[in-house]
Symmetry: C2
Subunit: 343 residues, 2 copies
C-alpha cells in the first residue's frame, strides 16, 4: 500500500505498519509527500524504511503496484482529484479527510462501487470511536430517528480543559496543541465546521439523507468564555459542542445543527472529556445506542486507518454498494434543547 | 431467506421483514418450526404471510432455494448439526445462539469460509449494542488489553430493578419476564453462564484467543439480596453482573471472569439500567472505547439479525476469513477489582 501525505496522522499510520502489532497482511511500500526529500531525511533509518519508495509526485503512486492508497493530506483541493484518480486506476482508498467525504462522499462511493474497489473513511468521523462501522454495518437493520454527539475532539479537549482549570480559551487551545489534539490553527474545529461536516456524513449513514455540510447550522464555540462555564456549573452542568440531528422520515424534515450546548453534570456528554468523542443514537426498534472513543490525535486516527486497511485486506474483491440517499424535503437549524433532552 | 425457529426473537425478525422498514433486499419465504402447524394457525393472515412456506422439517429448509437461514431456535443440540448442514449446503447463516457460537464459533466460521458463505452472530453478543461489528471490523487495527462489560440484559434488568425498588430477586425476575427481557427460567442468565459464553466469544474477537466458555470463572448473581444492594448504596455504588477479561499478550495469560461486582455511582455501569448492555474496551493505541445498547428482548435481537442480513445481502460473495486464534498459556479467574478499577 501507499501513503499519501506524511502528516502527523500519516506518520502514525507508517509507525503502526512498521511496529510490533503491524497486521501481517499490510505492507507499506510507497510514501508520497510534497516535501518527500526533506521529510525522508528526518526519518530514522530502519530495515523497514530501506524498503520504502519515496516520491513527491502523485503520478508515481498512481503508476505503482500499490493496491490501496491511504490519504492523510487534508484539505479538499487537490485531494479530491487524487482520490478520483486512485479509484479510476483501480486502487482502493482509505482517507482521514472529513471535508472531502462530507462534500464528495456519495460520488466517490459510487465511483468506488463501479470500479469494484473500496473507499473507507472511519478516521474521518469518530477516529477511534467506531461509529462509521457500527452504524453502517452493525446497525444497518435499525431505523434511526435522532443523533446527539460530540464529534470534534479538539473542541472537546478545549472546553473540558476550560471547565477543569477555569482558564481562558486561548490557554486551553495552546494546551490542546501541545498534546497533539489540535492543529496550529483549530479554527474549523472551534467554529463548528468540522463537526458539521461529520454530522452531514452521519446523516447519510444513519438516516439515508443527502446533506451538504454547509446547510448544517454551525454555531461557533470560539466565543465561549470562562464565565459561561462557571454559569453552567452553577446551573448543574457544563458546556459541550453538541452536534444534533433528527429526521422525521414520513415528512422528510431534517433538523441538523452544531452549537455549544448546556449538558447536565453526570450526563454522558458532561463525562466526555479531553479528546474523546461520544454519540447517542436513537432507533425506532432497538432503543438507544451510545459509543465513545478518542476522536482526535494521530494515534486515534491511525487506529481507524489500520482498521479500514485490515477490512480491505480481508476481502479485496468485496462489493460495497454505495448508499442510496434521498434529499430531505426541508432542513431546519438550531433550536434550544430543553434540559431533559440534553443527553 | 428462511427462518428456523419461531421463538420470540424469530417472530420479531419475521415482523421486521414484513413491516414498513423492511430492507427491500430481504425476502422471508420459509419458516421452519417444530410446531409449524400450530404456530401458523396463530399468525394473522396477510398478503406477506400467504407467500410463506411453513414446514416442521429442517430438510425442507435445506433443500429449498433460500440463500440465508436465520437460526432462532436456542440450545446447542441439534442446532449445531443444523448450522453445519446449512453451511455445507451453501447457505449463509445468521444466528442468535450464544452457546453455539461460544462453543463452536471458530469451527463454524472456518467451515463458512471454506464454503464461501457467511456466519454472522451480532445478536448472540450485545443484541442492539453493535459490539461484534465494532470490534471485529471497526477496530480491527487496535490491540485490546482489557474488556469490562455488562453482557446479560436480563440480569441487568433484575439487578437495576432490585436497586430501584428494594424488591427481592424473585419479584424482579417476574417483572423482567413480564417485560419480555427474561425467559421463563432465567437460570443461565443469573448464574453467569450466558455472560461467560459472550465473554468467551469476545475474547476471541478482541484478543484473538481461543477460550472455552466453561473455563471462564462464572460466579452466580442469583444469590444477590436486597440487603446487598442497600450495603452497596451506602458505600456509594451499586451491584452489576460484570464480565471482565484482560490478556497479557507477551505472557499469554488470560484473566476472565463473570461475577456480581460493586460499581461506583455515576459510573457507566451503574448508569446502565434495565435490559441495557455496556462494554468498556481498553486498547494499546486508541485508548478506551465504550458502547451501550439494549442487550435483551426480541426487538433488540431482531435489530441485530436484520443488520446481519443486510450485510450479507450487500455482498453475497463476500469472503470473511475465520479469525486465527491462539491458545492462552494460562487462564486465571476472579480477583477483587479495586474500587478505582471498576469502571
Amino acid at each position: 500500500m501507499g501513503l499519501l501525505g506524511l502528516s502527523p496522522a500519516g506518520l502514525a499510520v507508517a509507525a503502526r505498519l512498521a511496529g510490533r502489532d503491524a497486521p501481517p497482511s499490510l505492507e507499506l511500500t510507497h510514501i508520497c509527500d510534497r516535501r518527500a526529500r526533506e521529510k525522508r531525511a528526518r526519518q530514522p533509518e530502519s530495515p523497514a524504511s530501506s524498503q520504502l519508495t519515496w516520491t513527491d509526485r502523485f503520478d508515481d503512486l498512481l503508476t505503482s503496484d500499490v493496491d490501496v492508497i491511504v490519504e492523510a493530506v487534508g484539505g479538499t483541493e487537490p485531494v479530491l482529484d487524487y482520490l478520483r484518480a486512485a479509484l479510476l486506476t483501480g486502487k482502493s482508498v482509505v482517507t482521514v479527510n472529513t471535508q472531502v467525504v462530507a462534500h464528495h462522499g456519495p460520488a466517490l462511493l459510487a465511483l468506488a462501487e463501479r470500479q469494484g474497489r473500496q473507499l473507507r473513511f472511519g478516521a474521518a468521523v469518530g477516529g477511534a470511536m467506531p461509529i462509521v462501522r457500527a452504524v453502517a454495518d452493525g446497525l444497518a437493520g435499525e431505523r434511526f430517528t435522532r443523533i446527539d454527539a460530540i464529534l470534534n475532539g479538539t473542541t472537546n479537549a478545549v472546553l473540558s480543559r476550560m471547565e477543569a482549570s477555569g482558564c481562558d480559551i486561548d490557554t486551553a487551545i495552546a494546551e490542546a496543541c501541545a498534546n497533539g489534539y489540535a492543529e496550529a490553527d483549530p479554527a474549523t474545529d472551534l467554529d463548528g465546521m468540522d463537526a458539521a461536516a461529520k454530522l452531514a456524513i452521519l446523516c447519510g449513514l444513519v438516516f439515508g439523507v443527502r446533506v451538504r455540510p454547509d446547510v448544517v447550522d454551525a454555531r461557533p464555540t470560539s466565543g465561549t468564555k470562562p464565565g459561561d462555564l462557571r454559569d453552567a456549573s452553577q446551573r448543574g452542568g457544563t458546556i459541550r459542542q453538541i452536534a444534533h440531528a433528527t429526521f422525521d422520515e414520513p415528512r422528510g424534515v431534517l433538523v441538523a445543527w452544531v452549537a455549544p450546548t448546556f449538558v447536565p453534570s453526570g450526563s454522558l456528554f458532561a463525562r466526555t472529556t479531553g479528546p474523546q468523542n461520544a454519540a447517542v443514537l436513537t432507533g425506532a426498534y432497538g432503543g438507544t445506542v451510545t459509543l465513545t472513543g478518542v476522536g482526535a490525535g494521530s494515534e486515534a486516527m491511525a487506529v481507524a486507518v489500520v482498521s479500514d486497511l485490515v477490512t480491505i485486506a480481508r476481502d479485496r474483491a468485496a462489493v460495497v454498494p454505495a448508499p442510496i440517499l434521498r434529499d430531505p424535503a426541508a432542513v431546519q437549524g438550531w433550536r434550544n434543547l430543553k434540559l431533559a433532552e440534553a443527553v
